[in-house]
Amino acid sequence: MTTERYVFPHKHLLGIQPLSPRDITAILDQARAFEEVCERPSIKIVPALRKKLVVNLFFENSTRTRNSFEIAEKRLSAEIINFDADTSSLNKGETLIDTAMNLEAMHPDLIVMRHSAPGAHALLARHMKASIVNAGDGAHEHPTQALLDAYTLRKHFGSLEGLRVAIVGDIRNSRVVRSNLWLLTRMGAKVTLVGPPTLVPQEMKATWPGIEISHDFDAVIPSQDAIMMLRAQFERGTGAYIPGQGEYSRFFQLNPARMKQAKRDVVVLHPGPINRGLEITSDVADGPNNLILDQVTNGVPVRMAVLYLLSHPHGEQVP
């Protein structure tokens, strides 16, 4: 546990890329303290964000992430405004900057935003005084998902250092994978990306030189401590990159036959929602090695930690 005085130096959480290992450790350590709050048999609320206004600004559909943030905010006693893009003036042609300026007039302290455009969060951060939390931007980053994945793995294994993690499936369209690559490699894990050549951009090795890329799931499985399955994102055009779902499943589905090749104590993660029967079978998704629901549970204390660390005036700030 962290014992020394530490000031989280970031005003925003736009992605994992700007975070140092010390920052990541601070978030995960704080999450551990908030997990205690979430597990209390009595009152699961603390007054840490009392008098703070949080705006949830979701321009893309989300159930899991949005609910997780909202629970985290409520457990910290924040005041909450949920801004639904479907019924907003954006439908009348208002720009993101106009929306930001109008929100600014309400003096929010934190804005949690999901947007389809990579960089939308950075744009907002330049125009608002509030701290911005990226809840997913296109195929760019999803930092709190990576943090909760790391929290789940650290809780299970004790440390991320030296852990062998395979991230499998639709790498091309995944924002989860980019945040996880920044985080896992920075914390000393050995990452292998697995998927069909069309869905694993080779240029990723230039950004993360330490990673390995494989198109042979069966060859990779036996050496892994954790297998992180990704959702095949057909709404983002994944179908155009594969011959068919049957062939995709044949080579890249995590199923009982492949689990037999894995270490007995391997763990299985998935950011959800799951395409059951496509990238993972139900008996594996619900099996004894899965940490999928742990990921959902851990999302709340991790997001509480992020909101808490961003909610205070900082000393010297870095983006």
């Binding site: 546990m1 303290a33 205690e36 009152i43 603390v46 205070h312 900082h314 000393g315």
Partner: protein, 180 residues
């Protein structure tokens, strides 16, 4: 009565004697039917509570449960602080219902820590009674809070701090009055 202000109000031997006396005084104040638990306020209240539990067991033959309370999230100045103070888990592995809770801390000064501890405590359950035990009770209260039991009561002029040192955290025992 306030004790004389000096550079070293308590040495290790005096601190151990004070803890033994506090344990005996606590036993004397409890009714036979009371189920008592100790809650140490992090960070120095926890080792003090653990030591007290040892003395209580020696005195009564019964094990007294010990938990810890982190009051950071309940501080009344939390939203104004620069940087987020590190929060450590609160650990109360027992029910508080119908128990007598003894809050244990190193120094009672403004009373704001104890106010926060009471808020935190009541979020965990509804004890039958709450008592406050501190190693050093110093002047400078800003809230109407007082200790039930204190190892040392000391008047300290402004610009001074009372520091309780513990071997578990600081490598040595003792109470000192220092200029800020």
């Amino acid at each position: 009565m306030p004790e004389a202000l000096g550079p070293c109000p308590m040495d290790p031997g005096q601190m151990e004697a004070a803890l033994r006396r506090l344990a005996a005084d606590l036993v004397a104040r409890l009714r036979p039917e009371e189920e008592v638990v100790l809650l140490g306020i992090r960070s120095r209240g926890l080792p003090l509570a653990e030591r007290l539990a040892t003395f209580l067991r020696a005195a009564t033959g019964a094990a007294v449960p010990v938990g810890s309370l982190d009051i950071t999230l309940y501080r009344d100045d939390l939203t104004e602080m620069v940087g987020s103070p590190i929060v450590r888990p609160t650990e109360i592995p027992f029910t508080l219902k119908e128990r007598t809770v003894v809050l244990v801390d190193d120094v009672l000064y403004t009373g704001r820590t104890v106010r926060a501890a009471l808020d935190a405590l009541l979020d965990h359950g509804r004890p039958r009674r709450v008592m406050l035990l501190v190693m050093a009770d110093r002047s400078g209260r800003e809230l109407p809070i007082q200790a039930d039991l204190a190892g040392l009561r000391v008047e300290v002029p402004p610009g001074h701090r009372v520091a309780v040192r513990l071997k578990e955290i600081d490598g040595e025992d003792g109470v000192t009055v220092e200029t800020c």
